[in-house]
Amino acid sequence: MSMLSLRDITVRFEPKGKPPVLALDDVSLDVANDTFSVIVGPSGCGKSTLLRLVAGLETPTSGRLELDGEPINGPSADRGMVFQSYTLFPWLTVRENVMFGPKLKGLPKSECEDIADDLIKAVHLDGFEKSYPKELSGGMRQRVALARALANDPRILLMDEPFGALDSQTRQMMQELLLDVWQSRRKTVLFITHDIDEAIFLGDEVHVMSARPGLIKQSLDINIERPRHIDALTSPQFMDYKRTILSLMHDEAIKAEDAANQRKSA
């Protein structure tokens, strides 16, 4: 059953004094309930725009977006999002950050605290409930951001390169933690990255995007057994997927470079 459905989505930006940019060209995409979908693509392919559309933070030039059959107009607590940049509210403690959504909904304080403490435990940050974000490392901040997005119990979790700013060891750890949390809570996830390993390691399905115009070039089902562990990264199966996606992306990277050079010389 398909719960998120994007039909013929086109986004055209018209920057002043510059030629218009076709950020997304006629993109259609379905995300089924409880699946972990990953969109991988080169920078500038419009993958972040796609996610922001689903979040309701932007509107398409044309096309239809639906979640469980209802059209998406504007942001809502239904669709939680984790950003690449650190977006914890620095004036709130870890627990208060996680409670932010439930408190807006008007849930009683004790219930908000229970939700928060449960999720803080799930991302292994118990003991840091009263810390301020400035006292946390980058990886810890993104774990709190994940807990905060989950606290609203959203129908879909949107993740915009959430581990992009972390070093590679921390990133690997975060991926495993995310899969743990996902495994135990079963959420529909739409995850954006430019890292092919990350896409294969996390996803049930991987959609490879091309740049300028942004469109989905190919979708692959990733049939690697779950729960997945770090050794999955070196399995022959993993390598096959990686080879396929790499060659798709390689063409794209060259195309994107050429397009960029043409724009500069024009």
């Binding site: 979040a55 950003f83 932010f100 997005a149």
Partner: protein
């Protein structure tokens, strides 16, 4: 050793060296002052000697008149400053984040920030007289427009992601402003209040130019008539010290009120 040298940019030096260098700069100024006065290089009605300033101070502390002047000036400065802040903080935050508010306010602030406050004094006298209101108004006008521009800049620099994030957590527009934009602005607001408090002090003499009978600015202007350079210097030192105290207060308040903010 190269990277630990005093002459490498952006390198920490140890606290002892820091304090020593600070003391040296004060000592050099004092020594220069002593040399000019006790060395007989400048006449006394041109520059009073250190002990004369101390004597002038002791005399005015003994008869309490220095405190009267301080109190009168503090009332003017704080009233003008607080009044300006009450309006500038909310309007500035809105101006930095709402293009419509910016469009409304910017032409006025852009124009007013270049007008010397002293140029408005004749009009202020005509419109609100020569009482304390006029003095408060000088401080108000001197700080309000500067605060507005600085605080609007703070608000404009708040990350859009922080706002977007609040939306995806279920906040509506009103709560995005009250629960995210306003608290996010607070460290920058505090820093700029501290800076503009310093500027408010610099308007003191201008504020007490007209029809004052107390205040540190008045004391200085009055002493000018008789070339009492000891009293002038006493006034200057008192203003400097009061300024330092208010600055210290703002630093302390920021640490106390905004313990979560990273940099100060």
């Amino acid at each position: 050793m190269w990277t630990r040298s005093l002459f490498s940019p952006k390198t920490d030096i140890d606290k002892g060296t820091y304090v020593t260098l600070s003391l040296i700069s004060v000592a050099v100024i004092l020594a220069l002052w002593c040399l000019l006065t006790y060395g007989g290089i400048t006449p006394r009605d041109f520059l009073a000697a250190p002990h004369e300033v101390v004597q002038a101070g002791i005399k005015r502390i003994a008869n309490m008149s220095l405190f009267e002047h301080m109190w009168a000036s503090l009332v003017v400065i704080l009233s003008g400053f607080i009044l300006a802040s009450i309006f500038a903080v909310p309007i500035g935050i809105l101006m930095g984040s709402f293009r419509a508010v910016q469009a409304l306010i910017e032409p006025i602030t852009g124009f007013m920030r270049y007008i010397p406050v002293s140029a408005l004094i004749p009009l202020l006298i005509l419109w609100i007289g020569i009482g304390i209101e006029q003095k408060i108004m000088v401080i108000f006008l001197g700080t309000f427009f500067q605060q507005l521009i600085l605080i609007s800049d703070v608000s404009a620099r708040i990350s859009k992601d922080l706002i977007d994030c609040a939306y995806t957590l279920g906040a509506d527009r009103r709560r995005v402003v009250t629960r995210v934009l306003v608290p996010a602005c607070m460290p920058g607001v505090m820093d700029n209040l501290r800076v503009t408090m310093g500027w408010a002090w610099t308007y003191l003499v201008v504020a007490e130019l007209v029809a004052a009978d107390t205040g540190l600015g008045y004391m200085i202007l009055n002493a000018m008539r008789g070339l009492f350079t000891d009293v002038i210097l006493l006034g200057v030192f008192t203003i400097g010290i009061l300024g330092l105290i208010t600055d210290f207060f703002f630093k302390w308040a920021r640490r106390r009120l905004l313990p979560w903010s990273a940099d100060f």
